[in-house]
Subunit: 140 residues, 2 copies
Amino acid sequence: MSTLKPFSMAVKAVILDDEGRCLLIRRSAHNTNFIGCWEWPGGKLDPGESFDVGLEREVMEECGLTVDLTGLAGAMEFEMPKVRVVLLCMEARQTGGTIRMSEEHDDSAWIHLSELKNQTLHEHHRQFMIDYANSKALTP
Amino acid sequence: MSTLKPFSMAVKAVILDDEGRCLLIRRSAHNTNFIGCWEWPGGKLDPGESFDVGLEREVMEECGLTVDLTGLAGAMEFEMPKVRVVLLCMEARQTGGTIRMSEEHDDSAWIHLSELKNQTLHEHHRQFMIDYANSKALTP
């Protein structure tokens, strides 16, 4: 038997607009950690749930929007106390809905990718988000 | 409703040994395409199957090995006629078993990462595999 921690998959949506901005939402005091940090919408997959269905569900729950997933933004990995998380990030476009926060977040903002580095980002995702923004700046 | 193709997830294992080699398997004439091309073991997830369980299943089916998944190698995306495939590649170590091909493959080889570029690789994965090998060469 392996002594490695089990894996878990989480998903995030980089919801982009026509001005090169992405939607960030801010973690509320309802969370136990990373309060006040900005992040892309998303979360853990439910057991048996495919990544695209789970991501569309999380986006609706966390910010009230319907989206089309348009492509892969990238993947990263980080350790949690009991699991190793593979985080799959997908680019998306808003197709409907209006922004509405769940109790897990208390604010939202459309931030240009070039300005991501100046935000207080969730530390697990910060470097990945900045690397993504830099890679998009190189591919017009 | 979106007019975009649905997504499907596939998984591949970069099974590494202590000499910096990875296991490649060669697609047999039993396949309808890419016959004779070398690839990492893996395949599509079954409905409701988590990526780690599905990948360990595919590795056993395709090459007869048990593996520990040790980390994320990366992710890529490609188009198929009816779906958009997100391919998640995980690094792995052999923990047991002996190499045994299914009818989908007819040969196997342990190839050093620096030699991947000289192989006849599955064209959907070729550039990703070479980029991965180059990135590993930079991180001893």
